[in-house]
Symmetry: C2
Amino acid sequence: MSAARGPGTGDDARWTAAAVALSERGRGRTTPNPNVGCLIVKDGRVVGRGWTQPGGRPHAEAMALEQAGAAAEGATVYVTLEPCAHESPRGPACADLLIRARPARIVAALTDPDPRTAGKGFARLREAGIAVTEGVSADLARRAMAGFLTRQALGRPHVTLKLATSLDGRIALPSGESRWITGAEARAHGHLERARADAILVGRGTFEADAPRLDVRLAGLEDRSPARFVLSRRSCGGRSPSSDGSASGTSLEMDPCLRRGDDWGWLDSHQAISSLPANHLLIEGGAGAASAFLAADLVDRLLLYRAPILIGDGRACIGDIGLGSLADAHGCWALTDARSLGTDRLEIYERKR
Amino acid sequence: MSAARGPGTGDDARWTAAAVALSERGRGRTTPNPNVGCLIVKDGRVVGRGWTQPGGRPHAEAMALEQAGAAAEGATVYVTLEPCAHESPRGPACADLLIRARPARIVAALTDPDPRTAGKGFARLREAGIAVTEGVSADLARRAMAGFLTRQALGRPHVTLKLATSLDGRIALPSGESRWITGAEARAHGHLERARADAILVGRGTFEADAPRLDVRLAGLEDRSPARFVLSRRSCGGRSPSSDGSASGTSLEMDPCLRRGDDWGWLDSHQAISSLPANHLLIEGGAGAASAFLAADLVDRLLLYRAPILIGDGRACIGDIGLGSLADAHGCWALTDARSLGTDRLEIYERKR
């Protein structure tokens, strides 16, 4: 522990990484706000911890400062995103709260891309005589807040596609038998990923065939079940020409919106996906929904659960994604994590371009 | 190095593992003999090294003893398989050679399953006053000599199936475009695996469409290209009832034997595969040949090269393998190795049952 008490860069990285871990507690519940984590450290001891609360308020800094009380004075505040500089009807600006609490130093991972803050938070803190270090553990923070950052940059949720396949990429036998390909550990991890999403989406075929619950069945996380949406079947693999020819103009074609008497939502257009009240969207199947999102270049992260089995003839995990040549397929995905879950393997790929 | 000079079990394991590494030099070239490795160590120094030579003779022990000369007296001989007890027109029994050389001790990984030796080698050495330790690094040795051991146990070569796919299990676009899915490093590793096989087999479709060279194009290993065989197309996925209902009775149905004017051989029956002059057989594609061997339960090891790309609609890596239910698919394969090759991943699975 003594090493953690020094003021060096190694400590900054370690404490900021701890703040990122705290930020994960809010993931999937803070839309439209970012899920931020904050840690206040004084003389090598943590005196306050905070993370964005469900619904987006209180902010992480407000929660940590509340915990720290007078101990925040002269302390170091580790935070995963630039403290907000704008007041809102829902609460004061975090920059102002921090200036009032008089910490000696702020260490932050990322600048807030929200134009209402975008550097103004840091500037105001520095003007108040507080030392500010930026960019520490930025990659970790970017991953944890991918939803908020994608929405700021592209105007849509960060999209994770989950595939659970055999070694040969099948998700079912020709008969449709699909329970189970992966084992209990992999399925539990899938539930954890649900808890990290604000919204979950399946294709109409999966919805009608399996009537999936899509809830989080993990002890202690039952209240983390995401909002559920269905993609119209007619849209699967659909691709419409973009008005300006740019990649961001790619859209999903969908049936007119349908609504049912239960708590499912139906998505009917690219606009609907953009306006989905979700920073993190998880696509859970089937092949039609997966292909539609891939063809529209709307997948940012791939969760690939694979069981050590071979199926041969059967149902493919994805269908037509509009690939013209192998050259177009390369360079899109980078493996960023891999682990064993029982006898299954999980690989996580992230979009490269 | 000092630790390696003691007489402990740790040293036995380390030296025997080194003998296994030597044995790999003969792999793919010793049929019908096992590819054995041998190391003679005296006072912590290696005084002789040997591995089964191309064609199966000289044996590893004979080569190592020749190198050691008089230094073998009082030394420890590490060998991956029980020294043979039977004389042959091609040379004397290794047990006799060893007795003549008077080492103090023999450390061996495996007992020879060949009924002509099967314990007689160890017995003769012990009778001659040489201490014998058995079973050291047995798993490593079993993997290195899988071909010989499979032939002894099942009367057929050890079969490795190579698959090179996208993340979704495709080996080509709908157009047939398949060059390249995996990158240069993965393809080089594939050539190394060719060098470790005595024989290589493709399906008739692959043979006729691609006219693959199937040689080893790695500097220094050009002479290690395996014998090449073609499986008749009509057999793909074929399964014939076994006469006695046992798994070993499963066979491949093939067209009558065809012979061409080049150096390719055509396999026409299960008997032909059993009588193939090969300890290690590598199946390189396409989906038909892969499916035929899987359906006949003739695959012992799976080399799965995967590129970080998604193809969607396209050609599957395997077709019908006669799977009746998901339950039958489970419990067959264990992941035994995994590594990165450039941006591709290689996973090696081995048969569990």
